[in-house]
């Protein structure tokens, strides 16, 4: 048996060498891949083409072909410095590390930057002002993770706000979505009595559908089209919500998934304003407009992790998104995990096609029984893993993952609160949640259109948060800070260059906010811009995509990150994937880390 395996390996190695010297195969690289991506690879010493050539196998195949029948792994008994090394200290890496350590494994987590959190960090971008650099949506961590990891006793504290959304509209009017459904109904009736009466039914019905989505997010996706026993056991997760829905509603729920959020809302509402206000948050983390198929799924996705039964959470971690990551890190340490920052992993060491540890940029080598990658697919497979051990088609498919970030952040240090024309001076609490500049569905869709031609929106959709209204500790006494997510700002610009366009972007955001709060520019003390290019360079998010690959239908469930690899296991033995690139995708939920840890522990038995 061992002999046979050795022979097999030799043969494979011979094949790979043959292939490497063989005639160059035609490449599938889309020309739309950014120069940056290719340049980065070349700087790393090898172009994608070379990487593909180095790989095993023959020309173009489906990624899953390579994933055929692997013998079940057993991690038990492998000798190494650590049981597991987690590469990357983003939230999912931390959650995975915490769960593994909690199960008694000796875990080391390595973070490239000086702080942990990845995209969930709080940074003093302007002295005295602590911003949640990339996202303020820290309120959607599932209660199960909070209790499993006992995050409460590690300093995690959520602060809630109401309304969830405050949407100023042209003409000093506004629409607010409150936690109290009846209160929202009253608000909506200003725009359409019919919509007001549809709203409670909409909330109830979608809330039911979300039970199914929550089940989906907590499970390991099946490896379709085949269904193993493991997969069927996983499907039990869905049994309860599906029973709750009933057959008829189940069909309806499935029908909703591939729809566009615009079509879904058209079925319930008539007012373009109401539809725009509900739809905006669904496209916040996706590079598509509300009329594009698959966006309805994002509505339910956000909904299913909401803290209040509505389509968005209305709470934030005290101390910003970074405080949440820090709490998870503290929990992991309390379970015995080691966390080291300022430690950049240069490569994942593979021996005989099996992951065996990591090598740091400093040259230090650390051996481990298994390696968990909490970084994106591109970094993992085009930079860290030796292409010699990868199938060439697989490398090619990694190159084809759709990122295309379209989000930028602008942070402001404010002398005082700007006065929105739609807000009376004594009602500042209206501004404590999301202030959403997306006054209609048409506005949202029009904001998206320029992206298709490589320009940024001249009338952007803005998601503005002033966290100091509920968490004054983030700014000096009496001052405020404001963070703006601006969409759509494509990573791929045809004319401008992000190295210069940051300034333009800041001006655009300021003038857009000023349309609703005329004194805004006078309130600004200082500002910082984070462009999609910065997101890539500083936070290592390919093409500035916060979710490690777009949350589109073709990168969903068993297709995430790639078909055949949705079960958190990489094509290299003892290498696991736990980042947002894996199911269920991006957002501060930690579910990717939790699900991955569960799969890893299965292999440990």
């Amino acid at each position: 048996m061992a002999e046979e395996k050795k022979l097999q390996k030799k043969l494979l190695a011979a094949l790979a060498v043959g292939a490497a010297f063989g005639a160059g195969i035609a490449l599938l690289l889309s020309p739309r891949r950014g120069r940056d991506f290719r340049a980065q690879l070349r700087e790393g010493g090898m172009s994608l083409k070379e990487r593909v050539r180095m790989g095993r196998g023959k020309s173009v195949r489906s990624p899953s072909d390579i994933a055929e029948a692997k013998p079940p792994l057993s991690i038990k008994g492998r000798q190494a410095d650590y049981d597991g090394v987690v590469v990357g200290g983003g939230l999912n890496g931390l959650v995975a590390a915490a769960y593994l350590a909690r199960a008694g494994r000796k875990i080391l987590l390595l973070e490239r930057r000086e702080i942990v959190g990845g995209a969930a960090v709080t940074e003093e971008l302007i002295p005295g002002y602590r911003f949640s650099s990339l996202t303020d949506d820290s309120g959607c961590l599932p209660p199960k993770i909070v209790s499993d990891l006992d995050l409460g006793s590690h300093g995690l504290n959520f602060l809630s706000f109401d309304p969830l959304i405050f949407a100023p509209l042209p003409g000093a009017t506004s629409l607010a979505i409150w936690e109290d459904v009846d209160r929202t109904v009253k608000e909506i009736s200003k725009f359409s009595p019919a919509d007001a009466s549809s709203y409670p039914g909409f909330i109830d019905r979608m809330g039911e559908y979300c039970q199914v989505i929550a089940g989906i997010k907590n499970m390991t996706p099946p490896d379709l089209p085949g269904l193993g026993i493991r997969d069927i056991l996983e499907l039990r997760n869905l049994a309860k919500p599906v029973r709750g829905l009933g057959r008829k509603n189940l069909a309806q729920a499935i029908r909703v998934l591939p729809m566009s959020v615009a079509d879904l809302l058209n079925e319930w509402f008539e007012s373009d304003i109401v539809k725009g206000v509900i739809a905006a948050s669904t496209v916040k983390n996706i590079s598509l407009g509300p009329r594009e198929a698959g966006t309805a799924y994002m509505l339910l996705y956000n909904w299913s992790e909401s803290s209040n039964g509505l389509f968005l959470s209305n709470r934030r971690a005290a101390g910003g998104s970074g405080a949440l990551a820090q709490a998870v890190a503290d929990a992991a340490v309390s379970f015995g995990a080691e966390i080291k920052t300022n430690q950049e992993v240069a490569r994942i060491i593979t021996q005989g096609g099996q992951a065996a540890g990591v090598e740091l940029a400093s040259g230090e080598q650390i051996s481990a029984a298994l390696v968990v990658s909490a970084v994106d697919m591109r970094t993992t497979f085009l930079r860290l893993v030796d292409p010699y051990y990868l199938d060439r088609s697989f490398v090619q498919h990694v190159g084809n993952i759709n990122y295309r970030g379209t989000m930028a952040r602008v942070h402001f240090a404010l002398k005082r609160l700007p006065s929105f024309t739609a807000v009376k001076s004594d009602r500042a609490n209206l501004l404590s949640g999301r202030i959403q500049i997306a006054p209609s569905m048409t506005y949202l869709q029009k904001a998206y259109d320029p992206v298709k031609y490589g320009h940024f929106s001249q009338q952007p959709y803005l998601d503005i948060q002033i966290p100091t209204l509920i968490d004054p500790s983030l700014a000096p006494d009496g001052k405020h800070l404001m963070s703006v997510t601006a969409k759509y700002m494509p990573y791929f610009l045809r004319q401008e260059d992000w190295n210069e366009a940051g300034e333009l972007l800041a001006q655009l955001v300021i003038s857009t906010v000023a349309e609703y709060a005329p004194d805004f520019s006078e309130c600004i003390e200082d500002l910082r811009v984070i462009t999609p290019l910065d997101m890539e360079n500083i936070y290592n998010l390919p093409e500035g995509n916060l979710t490690h690959g777009q949350m589109t239908l073709n990168q969903f469930m068993w297709m995430r990150p790639l078909p055949g690899y949705a079960q958190y296991r990489a094509p290299v033995d003892y290498l696991y994937l736990c980042s947002s690139a894996a199911h269920p995708g991006g957002a501060i939920t930690g579910l990717n880390g939790k699900n991955a840890a569960r799969e890893i522990l299965k292999d440990w038995r």
């Binding site: 035609a26 490449l27 599938l28 889309s30 020309p31 739309r32 173009v60 195949r61 489906s62 990624p63 899953s64 072909d65 994933a67 055929e68 379709l224 089209p225 085949g226 057959r247 008829k248 189940l250 069909a251 309806q252 499935i254 029908r255 909703v256 998934l257 591939p258 729809m259 079509d263 058209n266 079925e267 598509l288 009329r291 594009e292 198929a293 698959g294 084809n400 759709n402 048409t442 869709q445 029009k446 259109d449 298709k452 031609y453 589109t552 239908l553 073709n554 969903f556 068993w558 297709m559 078909p563 055949g564």
Partner: protein, 531 residues
């Protein structure tokens, strides 16, 4: 309860003499049923008709290519015996804005050589792309010939259908299954972009992803529509497009002739006003002139809106079905311009003059295509629309007087909801002018050749062919309106909540195009019920 008049009693009445209605009628008659087809207009075919609107010139008024007609329909109804005569089209010609062009040919090797002029890499990829599409098309084909399972009530038959589907998907193997899931979910642009770099080639390949759909080439879901069209099957050869000798109406005529051969009775100028429902059971139809005709089974070949919201009373339907039908997306997106020409238009980009026989595409770049959509999605028509044209007289001179030609231009996009600037007539004129102006950018002499033009907006299609919002597919082919969701979950199996009332139009699985698929599957289901 009155006794039904015996002389009026049929086994089945088909409402609407479109090609699916005729197909269903032919299948039922072939099985020995006594069938009556009632058509509102003076001629048969629905959207698949040929009309002589301008003396001497035969316009293929609406549908213009026959590629999707299902081979089992051709065989089982022996359509060749009944006048089906398909002329293959040789390929395509796509002029570009810089004076260059792209052409495709029936002969793949020639196409590859042509693509090589633009990109070596793409030329090398083309064959493999074709193979992949062929594989997926074969994987989907059995699904199109399958009655969609009913997710809402998986009884024995439902479970069996689900099992069939599962077995089929599993049999595909992982590779094809994953290609399939990809093509179901991606945009045509991204899907094609994984293979090719030449912009005009991408634009050309994407065109079939948007036909009949109010979506752009960059909208997710359009890759499926691309596949839907790729499955065009002509004499067993995938994706070879063709046209009927004498115009598309000939296909409808052939099916009608088969139906008559099997004993079906067909009446034109017989608009149905209402389905007669008694005790929750359909038992006949009332014509607009008041005549009532009774039958055991009533089958609607109309679109879901007409079938459920105009032919029957709301009170006979469950409220959730009514709501679902009201939410069903039609959104007509296309128009049609038919021209009678004094001679052949000249394209400066066309070096080889014989290319004029090909299908001509005004789809010079992906940006052009996407911008055409952007105009229309805010409820207007495209200022510079995507055009797909054939000049059938180049292969079939009988359609016009000697030396003259007819040109059939399919136009996208035109929104059904476009606002009225002036009257409908003025709007139609403006729309027609946008088409001719765009055409003359690529064929400057066309304006001088026009003897007569017929312009159809989505409104006209709705009025003339009774297709809601002018959607040529009886409802958009988006993921949430396909297969187990077409037309609405729970009523996918050609039945309706009203006993003995059935649907067989393009609004049912497998959807639009001149396929005959819905008509055939509906007839088979009806016979299963013993009707």
């Amino acid at each position: 309860m009155t006794n039904l008049s015996e002389t009026n009693l049929y086994d089945a009445i088909v409402i609407g003499g479109g090609h699916n209605g005729l197909t269903a009628a032919a299948y039922l008659a072939r099985a020995g049923r006594k069938v009556l087809v009632l058509e509102r207009r003076y001629l048969l075919g629905g959207a698949a008709v040929t009309e002589e609107i301008f003396p001497g010139f035969k316009y293929t008024v609406c549908s213009y290519v026959i590629s999707l007609l299902r081979p089992e329909v051709i065989q089982e109804l022996e359509l060749y015996k009944h006048g089906l005569h398909l002329l293959p089209t040789d390929g395509s010609f796509i002029p570009m804005e810089d004076g260059n062009y792209l052409a495709s040919y029936a002969d793949e090797a020639r196409t590859i050589e042509e693509i090589r002029r633009h990109s070596h890499r793409d030329a090398d990829q083309y064959h493999e792309f074709g193979n992949m599409m062929y594989d997926i098309a074969y994987a989907v084909k059995p699904i199109l010939g399958m009655v969609a399972p009913d997710l809402t009530s998986p009884g024995i038959t439902g479970l069996n259908a689900l099992r069939h589907l599962g077995v089929h998907l599993k049999s595909l193997g992982k590779k094809k299954f994953h290609w399939l899931t990809k093509i179901m979910t991606m945009s045509a642009y991204d899907f094609v972009g994984e293979w090719f770099e030449t912009d005009v080639l991408k634009a050309y390949l994407c065109t079939s992803g948007i036909i009949g759909t109010m979506l752009g080439i960059k909208s997710p879901g359009t890759a499926y529509v691309l596949l839907h069209h790729f499955m065009g099957e002509l004499d067993g050869a995938f994706s070879a497009w063709g046209s009927q000798k004498g115009g598309t109406g000939g296909v409808s005529e052939a099916i009608a002739s088969a139906a008559r051969f099997y004993g079906a009775e067909i009446r034109c100028n017989a608009p149905v006003a209402q389905v007669i429902v008694r005790n929750g059971q359909a038992c006949g139809v009332a014509l607009e002139d008041g005549e009532e005709i009774y039958a055991t089974t009533i089958i609607s070949g109309c679109d879901p809106k007409v079938t459920f919201r105009s032919l029957v009373d709301e009170k006979d339907l469950p409220s959730d079905l009514v709501r679902a039908i009201d939410n069903f997306k039609f959104r007509g997106s296309s128009g049609k311009v038919n021209l009678a020409l004094d001679g052949l238009p000249e394209f400066p980009a066309m070096k080889d003059k014989s290319l004029i026989q090909n299908t001509l595409f005004i789809a010079p770049s992906t940006d052009y295509m996407e911008k055409a959509y952007d105009d229309a999605k805010y409820d207007d028509f495209s200022k510079r629309p995507f055009l797909e044209c054939v000049i059938p007289t180049t292969t079939d001179p009988s359609m016009a007087p000697p030396g003259k030609h007819v040109m059939s231009i399919f136009v996208q996009y035109a929104s059904y909801n476009m606002p009225l600037h002036g009257s409908r007539d003025e709007q139609r004129e403006a729309f027609g002018n946008a088409v001719i102006d765009t055409m003359s950018e690529f064929a400057p002499n066309i304006k001088d050749l026009i003897l007569h033009k017929q312009v159809l907006t989505p409104w006209d299609m709705e009025d003339q062919f009774s297709i809601t919002e002018g959607n040529i597919f009886h409802g958009e082919l988006t993921l949430d309106q396909l297969f187990i969701f077409r037309p609405v979950p729970g009523w996918t199996r050609y039945r309706t909540p009203i006993r003995n009332y059935y649907q067989c139009g393009s609004g049912t699985h497998p959807g639009g195009g001149i396929t005959g698929g819905p008509g055939r599957l509906a007839a088979l289901e009806i016979m299963k019920d013993g009707n």
